[in-house]
């Protein structure tokens, strides 16, 4: 992993993730370069062991992959496995 500058972002948690984190949103300063790195950082932060495989992620209301870059000022939405219907 290359050295990333730190950036300030907003992270929003839903359903199971919100309950685990104890908050629905928080501002974080992170050096995570990608959505996956950020996901791992939040897992560590909130003591979660959920694998990312069936979770989804969006940045600024657009669904993205786990290799999407994180930029300063982004709002990152972390979605646990979905179950509508």
């Amino acid at each position: 992993m290359s050295e990333q500058p730190s950036k300030t972002i907003q992270v929003r948690y839903f359903a199971l993730f919100r309950e685990r984190a104890g908050v629905s949103a928080e501002q974080l300063t992170t050096t995570a370069g990608t959505t996956l790195e950020l996901f791992e950082a939040t897992r560590e932060r909130h003591g979660s062991t959920e694998p990312h495989g069936h979770c989804k992620v969006a940045i600024n209301d657009v669904m993205v992959g786990w290799d999407a870059p994180i930029r300063d000022g982004d709002t990152v939405l972390l979605f646990p496995p979905v179950g509508g219907g």
Binding site: V82, G84, G85
Partner: protein, 152 residues
């Protein structure tokens, strides 16, 4: 209309909005809150949805159905909040010239909706416990992944 609603869904009102003189048929699916899941007695359900992405991704699913089958119109409505046994949690409706495309497109929409939209279901059990539920197809994939090298 693709929507998340907090009030009861009325399928008759929804169906009326799909009426079109060119449509020879209409197929719908209603998902209802049932009293059991995986051997546990369910007392009620709670749905959480992230509406902005349910709308954009939901419209994309309907557009995909329209590319696969010659349908005239399709909509879905999903509840959020607390639901009691028997309540309609989701309604999907498709109007088409003939029944075949209406049924097939409707099946596609409900199947995709369950695995793609940011909607979460929490079951409240009769014994007082509660838990978030994953969709069956995701759970089946998770089982497959456990048996193989993960490559996401």
């Amino acid at each position: 209309m693709v929507a998340i609603v907090t009030e009861a869904i009325d399928p008759a009102i929804q169906a009326k909005q799909l009426r079109n003189p060119a449509a020879g048929g209409y197929a719908s699916f209603e998902g209802w809150v049932r009293n059991e899941n995986e051997g546990r007695e369910v007392r009620r359900l709670e749905y959480e949805a992230y509406e902005p992405l349910v709308i954009t991704e939901g419209q994309r699913i309907i557009a995909e159905a329209g590319e696969r089958w010659p349908i005239i119109a399709a909509d879905f409505v999903h509840r959020s909040g607390l639901l009691e046994l028997g309540d309609c949690a989701v309604w999907v409706g498709v109007a088409a010239k003939h029944r075949d495309e209406a049924f097939k497109a409707g099946r596609y929409i409900i199947d995709e909706l369950k695995v793609r939209l940011p909607i979460w279901k929490k079951e409240h059990y009769v014994d007082g416990d509660s838990g978030w539920v994953n969709c069956e197809r995701c759970a089946a994939h998770a089982h497959d992944d456990a048996a193989h090298t993960h490559h996401d």
